[in-house]
Amino acid sequence: MLLPLMLLSSPLFAAETSWNATDWWVWPAALFIVSFLIGIVGVLAGIGGGVLFVPIVSGFFPFHIDFVRGTGLMIALGGSLAAAPVLLEKNLASLKLALPATLIASIFSIIGALVGLWISAINPDYIQGGLGALILLVVLFMLRSKTQNYPKVASTDSLSQALQLNGLFFEPTHKEEIHWSAHRTKRGLLCFTAVGFLAGLFGLGAGWANIPVLNLIMGVPIKVAVATSKFSLSIIDTTAVWVYINKGAVLPLLVVPSVVGTMLGAKIGAKLLPQMSPDLIRKLVIFVMFLAGIRSITKSFGI
């Protein structure tokens, strides 16, 4: 995925081809292809498009990182809006769980988006470098974290009871109804301040952070955590996207090929999923993210 981009973005290529503005269509076309591949890989690896899209596109495409972050948020929003109705219908995503978590994350995503655009106006390399460091942290996180299918929740706390953070869903593999409830609510909700802030700051979907918070901290079954995370992005990213829209930091020529590309790729990925080794795909994604993170850091140093 990265090799053709490295060639396209290299100074050698630029010098050889003497870039012409009338060839503008090359980059949106390349963006569509890369987004399509990200869509496939994202589904296979169980991650959202934004966390792959922003470091890869900001590292290897000529677009300024402000526009890439705005597009990244639109991708996460589009993917989430498309998936959420089915997840809610099947009771895998929980509205009760999403309501308080997304309220906190939304407020902080606005702050993150404003701070991100402010820092970027001072020096975009700070954002590019910070993004690279965060992506490497996510890589480390993906290597080390172990999710739990059905975490044990011995007792719920008073906040969880007040917010009625519980629910049920049908598990087809066991052919039974699973009941769940959340605990460590204060700690979990506190984590959503950071989740929202980072989503707005870097234009990432933040599903990579939502899932461990819901599953490992709040004790929500992994299926509910994944589905609620996906649904939550439609709310958290909405507020951050409005900041980028109002500032003029979203360009249709970047957004539409990216959103359509990732959505088509996700459909193909979903069909390929049963035939692929999830472990191999996961390792591949971790490797690609590692390269993209390193590229973001080197780019921030002007290399």
Binding site: D66, G78, V86, L88, L95, I110, G167, V241
Partner: protein, 138 residues
């Protein structure tokens, strides 16, 4: 340990249905308007050549170079291809607010006070973000 009454909110089904229709409409509109933009049926505010020469600039410089509108000024350019597509993006970004409005009405009917307060606070947060009232002090 208190006996938990496990359930999902009934309003979840309403939210899912509304989200499905609105987001499909938004995506359809975005793709349709983008087709008009890309094929040149509607002239863009910023030509493709000008856009490609400036998309590597920081936001402030890009806005100066292209005279692109900010805030809600884009609504004055809906006759131009790029800003009609902008409307498609705004529809997608507005879907959640509409769903939350429906939730608020439903929560009032069902007298679910705690959820009503949270949903109302989220609705205001989205409107606040969309209003462009929030500016970071430079």
């Amino acid at each position: 340990m208190e006996q938990i009454k496990y359930n999902n909110l009934e309003s979840q089904k309403l939210y899912a249905k509304l989200l499905y229709y609105l987001s499909n409409f938004g995506l359809f509109f975005l793709c349709g308007s983008f087709f008009l933009y890309l094929t040149g049926v509607l002239e863009p505010h910023i030509s493709f050549e000008q856009l490609s020469q400036n998309w590597g600039l920081p936001l402030d410089e890009f806005l100066k170079a292209t005279k692109a509108p900010t805030g809600w000024d884009w609504t004055n350019h809906l006759h131009q291809g790029d800003y009609l597509s902008f409307l498609g993006m705004a529809i997608l970004a507005g879907v959640t607010a509409i769903c939350y409005f429906a939730l608020i009405v439903d929560f009032i009917k069902r007298k679910l006070t705690i959820f009503l307060i949270i949903a109302f606070a989220e609705f205001i947060t989205i409107l606040f973000a969309a209003s462009n009232l929030l500016q970071f002090a430079h």
